[in-house]
């Protein structure tokens, strides 16, 4: 309740949440509103928005319904964002936790490993990975996850380092709790709020990354994602602005809402700021 109330106090966060919910709703309702495949060529190409009933947002280069693509694409974009973030967390959290908790040589080794990943520019690495695995949803998700876990590991490590000498952790050690229990029960729950905040931003970044990959022609050709739509529309950006405009706005709104929600979460979960506000 306390958390919800604090979250609701942040107007931006609330707006963000509403936008995000509508996008999720769009994703869920897509198959109901547009049961036909978004790939289906249903009208003449380059039909401008608002010109014909049933084609509110017009049609694309091949006469496919933009509105349908946008709604089906919401699902794909969100899925790629969520799954790649989850995978990145699954790599970054344990690595950071172990490095931060044990410190010393283990920390050194893991951090060198992390630094090593950070030494290759992210986007370049993502491109190479997708090219190697050949574009598909799986390879894109993996590539995004592989380039985005280092910040997670660093954050978790920093949190663990600051928490591992907290008195309650030492108390837990004194009463004989094992390392794994301490990591999972004592420290991890207390690092969750920054992780959640970071994760919400990572979903946004992943959606941007996917669209950039698609733009370079490294998208999965079987799924209609927003990135794909912009990538496909870029060659006709001059004659059909709406083709890249709507998915661009969709990405913008999603990333925006995720950021707003992230900030809201940060405020609501960060007890220090909350205390200052009182």
């Amino acid at each position: 309740m306390n958390f919800l109330a604090r979250f609701a106090q942040n107007r931006g966060a609330l707006i963000g949440l509403i936008i995000l919910m509508s996008i999720i709703l769009m994703a869920i309702l897509a198959p109901l509103i547009f049961p036909e495949s978004p790939w289906r060529m249903v009208q003449r190409p380059f039909l401008p928005p608002l010109e014909q009933e049933g084609f509110l947002l017009g049609t694309d280069t091949m006469g496919r319904n933009v509105a349908s693509g946008l709604m089906h694409g919401a699902w794909v974009s969100l899925l790629i964002g969520l799954v790649s973030t989850t995978v990145a967390l699954a790599i970054g959290v344990p690595l950071g936790a172990i490095a931060g908790y044990y410190g010393g040589l283990i920390d050194d080794a893991l951090m060198r490993f992390t630094e090593f990943f950070q030494t290759i520019p992210n986007f370049a690495l993502a491109i190479v990975l997708v090219a190697i695995m050949q574009p598909s949803v799986t390879s894109i998700v993996l590539a995004i996850a592989l380039v985005s876990w280092p910040p997670v590991a660093r954050l978790v490590r920093a949190e663990f380092m600051s928490l591992r000498h907290r008195e309650y952790v030492e108390a837990a050690r004194l009463v004989g709790q094992g390392d794994l229990t301490i990591i999972l029960r004592q420290i991890l729950p207390n690092t969750l709020s920054p992780i959640i905040v970071l994760a919400s931003l990572m979903v946004a970044t992943a959606i941007l990354l996917e669209s950039a990959l698609s733009f370079l022609g490294l998208g999965d050709p079987n799924v209609m994602s927003w990135g794909y739509m912009i990538g496909a529309a870029r060659t006709v950006i001059r004659q059909a602005w709406w083709l890249s405009f709507f998915p661009g706005v969709a990405i913008l709104l999603t990333v925006l809402s995720l950021n707003l929600v992230g900030e809201g979460l940060d405020d609501a979960l960060n007890p220090k700021l909350a205390r200052e506000r009182q």
Partner: protein
């Protein structure tokens, strides 16, 4: 008496909505005259600093004055706009803050930070500012002032930084100096020096001074007059001697009585049958990790420490920060591993245990921590926090939780097991910490500064509780503190540590009343407000 320099009349400051009470201070009136030190005393939350903030125009966001006036030089400070107020700050009203470690800009040289005071009020040329800064540093007694003026804050000790703060506050010879808990964060010997400096400067410059503190010892040391505050209201206001010797109000009386050290109990410690804990030749060196291209640095935290602790005994370990007293405690509970030496608990050497063996022996020594806010996991219900130890040692969950209930009862907090730590006050949390330490039925408890973060009245209650439990459960206690008065009150014997070595050990009475080591004497002399009778007894 002359006209007051500062006169606060019926001041009421409202807190923002949602705070735990409506007013930070309510209907507060007091004067500060030239050449006097008014001590504003109170525990945390009493609102003692708020009026001072209002004087400076530095009220926290959301706090605003709803009634009263603050008269300074004929004008009401509450009615000044920011610009007018700014012109007074630093020039006519100076202020010293509590935390010397954070109150100075870490990225600016000391000289520049002092020079800024002149700059803010367009005084002197840049070159003159530096030479004036140097004079100020000399005046506040900073060693090697020529070097210090070019130093960054991190290169100075806490006491030295506080001297810099004082130099800054004095730079333009303000008529009113406000000192907000200026010595609280300092070691006792440093505190004594700073208090002396402040008193001396105040006398020499004839300033009016408002000195905010929680410590009646400090009050006794420097106050001309005293204003005691509680929950935003003044409970007592009068000349220092009157208030200290004949407190009118119950609250004042309780506070003064709560200060430990007014009597030293007879030692109950006789020849022990067999020591519970025998520590011999303990060494611990901390190294900053060197690398391929950099050398390592070493700090001897424990240097050949040996002592014994008898069953049922309370052994105090006293020292200033950096003395190694905390490292000693952490070695005893084996949060640190000593480099060499032995730690025999009932004959079993804990010093070299590792892994599973260490985990098994752990429950025999438990610890009570200093910070009641950091010692409980904010996401674990307190009952569970207590039960975790027994559960980890194989007690079934239900039984452990039931036992936790009983322990909470024992420390005076019945029926709260399913609450979270943030629902408790500092003192209550410390009780929960004690219950947690007791849950494993340990033979020895190490209390590391267990009461130093608490208000003095709470401190007394916790000490009482410890004493009581110790008797009821026949515990042994290793009591680590920086506060000799607390140690003297609760301990059978005391070890005095400095630079990782034990410089003196003996019964509490011996150490307190007849100190042998020069350092112990220095420590004792530095305690603010020691009654002469006690010192000479």
């Amino acid at each position: 008496m002359s006209d007051p320099v500062l006169s606060i009349r019926g001041l009421t400051l409202a807190l923002p909505k949602g705070a735990d009470r409506r007013y930070a201070v309510e209907d507060v009136s007091y004067d500060v005259h030239g050449s006097e030190i008014l001590c504003v005393v109170g525990e945390s939350g009493s609102g003692k600093s708020m009026a001072a903030n209002a004087v400076m125009g530095l009220l926290p966001k959301g706090v605003r004055a709803t009634a009263g006036e603050i008269l300074f030089d004929g004008q009401d400070l509450l009615r000044l706009d920011e610009k007018q107020h700014r012109k007074l700050r630093g020039l006519r009203i100076g202020m010293i803050f509590q935390e010397p470690m954070t109150a100075l800009n870490p990225l600016m040289r000391v000289g520049a930070q002092i020079g800024e005071v002149f700059e803010a009020h367009n005084r002197l040329t840049p070159a003159e500012r530096q030479s004036r800064a140097l004079e100020l540093l000399i005046e506040v007694g900073l060693p090697q002032p020529e070097k210090a003026i070019r130093a960054y804050p991190f290169e100075l000790s806490g006491g030295q930084r506080q001297r810099v703060m004082i130099a800054m506050a004095l730079a333009l010879e303000p008529e009113l100096l406000i000192a907000d808990e200026p010595t609280t964060a300092l070691d006792v010997t440093t505190q004594a020096q700073i208090l002396e400096l402040i008193a001396d400067l105040q006398r020499r410059h004839g300033m009016a001074m408002m000195f905010i503190t929680h410590d009646f010892g400090v009050v006794a040391e420097i106050a001309t007059r005293v204003c005691v505050m509680r929950e935003g209201r003044i409970v007592e206001l009068g000349a220092a001697r009157d208030v200290l010797e004949r407190p009118q109000h119950d609250y004042t009386r309780a506070l003064i009585e709560a200060i430990p050290g007014n009597h030293i109990p007879e030692s109950r410690y006789l020849d022990p049958p067999a020591p519970l804990l025998e520590v011999s030749h303990l060494h611990k060196v901390f190294r900053s990790r060197g690398g391929l291209f950099k050398s390592s640095r070493e700090v001897h935290a424990l240097d050949d420490v040996s002592f014994i602790l008898a069953p049922g005994e309370t052994l105090g370990v006293v020292g200033e920060s950096g003395s190694g007293k905390s490292t000693l405690g952490r070695c005893v509970v084996r949060l640190e591993r000593p480099d060499s030496g032995t730690l025999a608990l009932s004959g079993i050497d804990l010093s070299s245990l590792k892994g599973e063996a260490l985990r098994r022996e752990r429950r025999r020594v438990q610890m009570i921590f200093q910070d009641p806010y950091a010692s409980l996991n904010p996401r674990t219900r307190v009952g569970m926090a207590i039960a975790q130890g027994p559960i980890a040692n194989g007690v079934p969950r239900d039984k452990a939780l039931k036992q936790a209930d009983q322990l909470l009862e024992l420390v005076g907090l019945g029926g709260v097991a399913d609450r979270f730590p943030h629902e408790f006050s500092g003192g209550q949390r410390q009780r929960i910490g004690i219950a947690r330490a007791l849950a494993l039925d340990p033979e020895l408890i190490v209390a590391d500064e267990a009461v130093s973060a608490l208000d003095v009245s709470i401190q007394a209650q916790i000490l009482e509780l410890l004493e009581d439990l110790k008797h009821r459960l026949s515990l042994s206690l290793l009591f680590i503190t920086h506060d000799l008065r607390v140690a003297a009150q609760i301990c059978d014997r005391i070890l005095v540590m400095q630079h990782g070595r034990i410089v003196e050990q003996g019964s509490a009475r011996e150490v307190f009343l007849n100190p042998q080591a020069a350092y112990t004497r220095e420590l004792l002399a530095a305690i603010p407000g020691r009654e002469p009778s006690l010192a000479s007894a």
